[in-house]
């Protein structure tokens, strides 16, 4: 059996920092978009930070993930650096994708982050391929595939899940169920309540955890990832969560697809607030230490935004570069 990551205080602190990093990155990105500095579409991860933090606590750089259109949080948790991330969102030459990808394709192969994806359901077959590769190359690495409740209705997930179970591949399908695909509620896109109910139909375990609780995610992911590393095949790990901002951008479009009460209900369960309350309660981090994290992260972000702002735009002559190896 593989040694799994234990939930030490250091791990808890790392998860906290990670959530704060994601939150601040996203809030900053949202503002920069509203200020017209970030072009295109921006899908923010605010509210869902516990999932990326809890899962990625188990992964090394050699483990891979596939992400979604809502991918910044996954990249940050996988070790992505703010400066190159902001630079990418700005469309700068110094960005992770040299400005060619932007938010929806942000990625870094060296960190095992096989890309945000503009195609809903684009990730699962690719994650399955990475897991196949891990097994084929006789490594003990695992691939984690993030996807939404909306994405769970795409055929790609079905095909990938079946294949992963059949070949007993080291992959974890992490469903970030935030109750909506864009503006369509889960009740309006599927007749089931738990996406995890689909696991059995592929011959893999389906596990449900509270996606607003980083520790619950951590524990769920620990088991699933251990199973994958041990060669026992995939798991469908469903994390119940909520996004605090709109589907795209920051503010709602004036649409009434979510009631104020619903939003308030979930905001009370803010994954960071809850986590910090526990950290304080259990004397793992004092208030000052927590505040120090925010200050450090704020400084990092400020520097990164400056880096991005000062970075050069890509040269138009590079348009036809990077098409072929």
């Amino acid at each position: 059996m593989f040694v799994t990551v234990e939930l030490t205080n250091d791990v808890l602190k790392d998860m906290h920092r990670c959530m704060v990093q994601i939150r601040r990155f996203e809030e900053t990105a949202g503002k920069l978009m509203e200020d017209g500095k970030i072009p295109g579409a921006l899908h923010l991860y605010v509210g869902e930070e516990a999932i990326a933090s809890g899962v990625m606590a188990h992964l090394s750089k050699e483990d891979q993930i596939t992400s979604t259109h809502r991918g910044h949080g996954h990249l940050i948790a996988k070790g992505g650096e703010f400066d190159r991330m902001f630079a990418e969102l700005f469309g700068k030459a110094t960005g992770y994708c040299k400005g060619k990808g932007g938010s929806m394709h942000i990625s870094n192969m060296d960190l095992g982050m096989l890309g945000a994806n503009g195609i809903v359901g684009g990730g699962p077959p690719i994650a399955t391929g990475a897991a196949f590769s891990n097994k084929f190359r006789k490594t003990d690495n695992v691939a984690c595939c993030f996807f939404g409740d909306g994405a769970s209705n795409e055929g790609s997930l079905h095909e990938a899940a079946n294949m992963a179970a059949l070949f007993k591949l080291p992959v974890v399908f992490v469903c970030e169920n935030n109750g909506f695909g864009e503006y369509t509620s889960q009740a309006n896109h599927q007749a089931i309540v738990d996406v995890a109910d689909r696991a059995q139909g592929y011959g893999m375990p389906g596990v449900i955890v509270d996606g607003m609780d980083a520790v619950a995610v951590f524990e769920g992911a620990r088991e699933a990832i251990a199973r994958a590393r041990a060669g026992d095949g995939p798991t469908l790990l469903e994390c119940k969560t909520y996004r605090f901002y709109d589907h795209v951008g920051v503010r709602g479009m004036g649409l009434s697809y979510r009631s104020d009460e619903e939003v308030e209900f979930w905001k009370k369960r803010d994954p960071i607030d809850q986590f910090e309350a526990k950290l304080r309660e259990q004397n793992i981090m004092a208030e000052a230490e927590i505040q120090a994290v925010y200050e450090q992260v704020a400084a990092e972000i400020e520097a990164a935004v400056q880096f991005a702002e000062e970075s050069p735009m890509p040269d138009p002559s590079t348009i036809t570069e990077d098409v072929y190896a």
Partner: protein, 334 residues
């Protein structure tokens, strides 16, 4: 309602789409609409705004994110007496449902010896220019036009957006209506009544004497701008909005070239393998002796659509690209 000064009514492209869908839903009791987020949200580009409210949840359906499912739903429903209006948010998602489009929707009638009728209207959004990167900015009309059994139209103006959607919905064949995301805010004259823009008929949007530009979609406007610039060099370009890409109005194009003797095809899609090749090939086939110069082509370079605005704006062909290409084709200096 006609406006107070009795001027022809102006409508944006997005509102023209909206009005067209409402018109179709009113005219055709067996029409229903299905697509992702078109119900409660009115569609991500808003052209479904208010339509579910007006026609009810029995006529306008939010679907799961299941493009194969959506197109298949349309095929099965159309074959059994409905007139579905399907929504494929971005043409880039065609890859998700290409089997249903290419192997079922386009071929069913033929494979069944003519016994199935598939009055499906499929609306989808194409084009670059919104910093949406490689998977949300494509122009894939060439794939669709190569498929016998489909009709394919592309709307460059609010009036045609309305007229082509209505024509598509009245047609008993599957018609794919490609709309342009960068034209959504464009204003134009749009008649209030119900009318169909004939499918298969190109539109001469700028008559001219000694040069022909055949184009479609957003590029129609770029071509008009280009024509105005070229006028200063003494070139009086005729701009033809092909509008219907399948069937294609070869006749109008050839008549123009016989008059002008020089031609270009311009589209936003990647140049290599784009429909421009087909049109250029047709022109030289049918008007070879009339041509004073090779038919020129303008299209995007051979790369996916880049995200960064500086790259994207250099990538997407526009009026300057057209003018530059004409100058080099005709060896006109500066």
């Amino acid at each position: 309602m006609a406006d107070q000064n009795n001027k022809p009514r102006q409508l944006t492209y997005v509102m023209a789409i909206n009005e067209a869908i409402r018109t179709v839903m009113q005219e055709q009791p067996n029409a229903f609409a299905a697509g992702e987020d078109i119900g409660g949200a009115g569609g991500v580009y808003g052209y479904y705004n208010g339509i579910q409210e007006q026609f009810g949840t029995d006529r306008v359906y939010d679907t799961p994110i299941s493009e194969k499912g959506i197109v298949g739903l349309g095929v099965g429903a159309a074959a059994t007496g409905c007139r579905p209006i399907l929504d494929l948010m971005f043409i880039d998602f065609m890859g998700e449902c290409m089997d249903e489009v290419a192997n079922q929707l386009a071929k069913m009638r033929y494979m069944f010896g003519g016994s199935a009728t598939l009055p499906v209207t499929l609306l989808t959004m194409a084009g670059a220019g919104a910093s949406l990167a490689a998977q949300h900015s494509q122009s894939l009309e060439a794939w669709l036009c190569h498929l016998p059994g489909l009709k394919v139209v592309m709307a460059a103006t609010p009036a045609d957006a309305k007229g082509l959607i209505i024509a598509a919905a009245r047609d008993d064949n599957p018609v794919i209506v490609i709309m342009m995301k960068t034209l959504l805010a464009l204003n134009g004259e749009v008649p209030e009544d119900s009318y169909a823009t004939p499918i298969g008929k190109a539109n001469i949007v700028r008559p001219g004497e000694n040069y022909t530009i055949v184009t479609w979609g957003r590029m129609v406007h770029e071509a008009i701008t280009a024509a105005e610039q070229l006028a200063r060099s003494g070139l009086d370009a005729e701009v033809i909005d092909a509008r219907s890409l399948q069937p294609f109005d070869t006749e109008t194009v050839i008549a123009s070239v016989r008059k002008t003797h020089r031609a270009m095809v311009a589209h936003e899609a990647v140049r290599y393998g784009g429909l421009g090749g087909e049109v250029a090939a047709q022109i030289q086939e049918l008007a070879f002796d009339d041509l004073d110069a090779p038919v020129a082509r303008v299209g995007a370079p051979f790369a996916p659509v880049p995200f960064s605005p500086v790259l994207e704006s250099a990538y997407v062909p526009n009026a300057e690209t057209i003018v530059a290409e004409v100058r080099s084709q005709l060896r006109i200096e500066g």
